[in-house]
């Protein structure tokens, strides 16, 4: 009866065998390998030569402050470091206490600040800023270890996150007549503005999109029609148009003394736009939940809200993580469109930099730098998404 169980056959092979199997398995495959290989080497040499000898990277490093924070006053930059320090501590502590997705967030935050510190080493920004970001990168880990050791109480940590929002906002923008003088959002720019637009857009459009998706499936016709109408309307209009409308039309509707500033209008436009797409993604996830589960929840006495909260949404949102992260990566890149309403985010500021006489002819360097920054941010987001999917077991249960 008992058949002896044997090990699966070994599949480990040496490097030469691997080459033969994958790159030189026949005459055609060998030719393709050689031609493509030669092409790759040639491109690498050309690019490397340009990057190492011809490129004037000093245009980037000399203007690094502009790229990072725009016209934000240099003597107030410490307020940004402080705001980042607050977020670093909280992200680190959460990672230690909760793990999972927050660990990804913390590690990314640390890595990006370390990268900033290294970049600043090559710029005239000064050693203080380098030290500040290196410090921030380090306290992420200190806080994480503290959280891990159980030194951080859970509940106050949640409150600290809530308090941190107005606190960081106050640090960055200040308020007239208080110790931190007000810094008009007109001068916010560069990466600072790009990240702000993206983070606010993501954080606000996500819940709004979930609500719209639920509204679209509501049993109340009014809710259903309003949600569907909104989603279809927004999806039929380009973001550029919405940004223009938010910039020009929104102030016309608001009472005179309500002067919404330009950045807030852009954030509003991006959020309203993105929410419609989030809603459609989430709707896909909602449809995937078998009705039997909803019936089982009702039969147990769970109400409609509870059923959504505990049964439907946890599964639906988990299933649409890949789609939503893809959406948020496009949102990050779409923030470049706010240049058309005169905001100087990363791409806008680079045009300003290139307009200076001593950066003449260095546009390739500047655009390569901008592309690299966007790539790093997008790549970090997609990696975070893969980790999150794995941690939550998407597709495995």
């Amino acid at each position: 009866m008992t058949a002896e169980s044997i090990r699966p056959p070994r599949t480990v092979i040496g490097p030469i065998a691997w080459l033969r199997e994958n790159l030189f398995s026949g005459p055609i495959s060998s030719i393709i390998t050689i031609v493509l290989g030669a092409l790759l080497v040639w491109v690498a040499i050309q690019v490397g030569q340009w990057a190492l000898t011809e490129a004037r990277w000093n245009v980037v490093s000399n203007n690094l402050r502009l790229f990072l924070i725009g016209q934000y006053p240099a003597d107030q930059a410490w307020r940004l470091w402080a705001a980042m320090a607050v977020l670093s501590v909280l992200a680190g502590a959460s990672a230690g206490v909760h793990g999972l997705a927050s660990r990804m967030l913390a590690v990314t935050l640390s890595a990006i600040q370390l990268l900033l510190a290294v970049l600043m080493l090559f710029s005239p920004i000064g050693i203080t800023a380098v030290a500040a970001y290196a410090f921030n990168a380090a306290i992420v880990w200190v806080a994480m270890v503290a959280g891990f050791r159980g030194l951080v109480p859970r509940r106050p940590l949640g409150w600290a996150w809530i308090v941190s929002l107005p606190l960081t906002f106050y640090l960055v923008s200040g308020f007239a007549g208080t110790p931190l003088e007000s810094i008009s959002s007109n001068v916010w720019g560069g990466l600072l503005l790009t990240v702000l637009l993206a983070v606010v857009g993501i954080v606000l459009s996500f819940p709004l999109g979930v609500i719209l998706a639920l509204g679209r499936r509501s049993e109340l016709p009014v809710l259903r029609i309003l949600s569907t109408g909104y989603i279809e309307l927004i999806r039929g209009v380009p973001l550029v148009t919405i940004l223009f409308m938010a910039d020009i039309i929104l102030p016309l509707f608001l009472p005179g003394e309500w002067r919404l500033d330009r950045i807030a209008r852009a954030m509003g436009g991006i959020t309203l736009f993105s929410a419609a797409y989030v809603a459609e993604n989430v709707r896909g996830g909602l449809q995937a939940i078998p009705s039997g589960q909803i019936e089982a929840a009702h039969a147990l006495g769970l109400g409609g809200v509870q059923t959504n909260r505990y049964i439907v949404l946890p599964q639906a949102l988990r299933a649409v993580i890949p789609a939503n992260v893809g959406l948020f990566i496009s949102l990050l890149k779409d923030t470049t469109l706010v240049t058309i309403i005169g905001l100087l985010e990363l791409l806008g500021i680079s045009r300003a930099v290139l307009a200076q006489s001593d950066s003449f002819g260095a546009s390739l360097e500047v655009y390569v730098f901008i592309a690299a920054v966007f790539f790093v941010l997008s790549y970090a987001m997609s990696q975070a998404s893969y980790r999150l999917e794995r941690a939550l077991g998407v597709g495995t249960r």
Partner: protein, 257 residues
């Protein structure tokens, strides 16, 4: 309704479920054509009949997963109306087990069981966990508490589903073909649990099932459905040995060959 044999139900305090002249349409399709059935506290009623005869629809009207359009349903003295509080009150007295288990796949077995006690009855987690573990022991799988449904066999999943329904401490349990999605070797483990539920706790049960051995052993009465009507009601002995209606005889001869 020519062959309607059930007498017009008389209400006594013992009658925990009363259905009077219940009608249900899906669009134009007349699915329940005047169902009359009274179930006494502690009674086990087995419902059987051909596919599409309205068995599921009927038991689903009892906890309002389907709305009936005519007639009246009274559960433990509470009349089923559109009032949302009545529906919640009735649902809290009734547990239901489905053919396809309908466990929540993102929760562990124990979490499936404790969710409703925690969120509906607002029990503390520790208290709910204690109840959940006791129920898992009762259905014979305490060691599976922390597995997700996908890691359990069909029979184990259905036993978790039974425990989940029992966790709300219902007075009535509805079973809709609880074993028909199971591989043959797992059917008895689920039937055993149901049988001990009926014997040891005196639970009021309505089971839609074609497990005739179970019906013979456990049912107080059997109800034969055909084309949206109750054709015959009787004790297992009456139904198996001297069915009165031709349609009942025919159906039984088909399934018992």
């Amino acid at each position: 309704m020519t062959e309607q044999t059930s007498p017009s139900p008389k209400t006594t305090t013992d009658d925990i479920i009363i259905a009077r002249d219940v009608h249900k349409w899906f669009g134009e399709l007349h699915v329940l054509k005047g169902i009359n059935l009274t179930v006494k506290t502690g009674e086990v009623v087995v419902v059987f009949g051909a596919s599409g005869s309205g068995k599921s629809t009927f038991i689903r009207t009892i906890n309002r997963l389907e709305h009936h359009q005519r007639g009246e349903i009274i559960v433990d003295g509470i009349a089923m109306t559109n009032d949302i509080r009545n529906i919640a009150a009735i649902r809290s007295e009734i547990g239901m087990v489905f053919q396809s288990f309908n466990l929540f796949p993102h929760l562990t077995a124990l979490e499936n069981i404790t969710l409703a006690p925690r969120k509906v009855k607002k029990l503390a987690r520790s208290e709910a966990d204690a109840i959940g573990m006791k129920l898992l022991e009762r259905v014979g799988i305490p060691e599976q508490a922390h597995k997700h449904p996908a890691q359990l066999s069909g029979g184990q999943q259905q036993r978790v589903a039974i425990a989940r329904a029992l966790a709300m401490n219902p007075k009535i349990m509805l079973f809709d073909e609880p074993t028909s999605a199971l591989d043959p070797e797992m059917i008895s483990e689920v039937l055993d649990v149901m049988q001990s539920l009926a014997r040891d706790t005196g639970m009021t049960m309505i089971c839609v099932t074609h497990e005739m051995g179970f019906a013979r052993a456990v049912a107080n009465r059997m109800v034969f459905f055909d084309h949206g009507e109750i054709v015959e009601i009787g004790t297992p002995k009456e139904i198996f040995e001297e069915p009165k209606q031709e349609r009942t005889k025919q159906f039984l001869s088909q399934i018992l060959h």
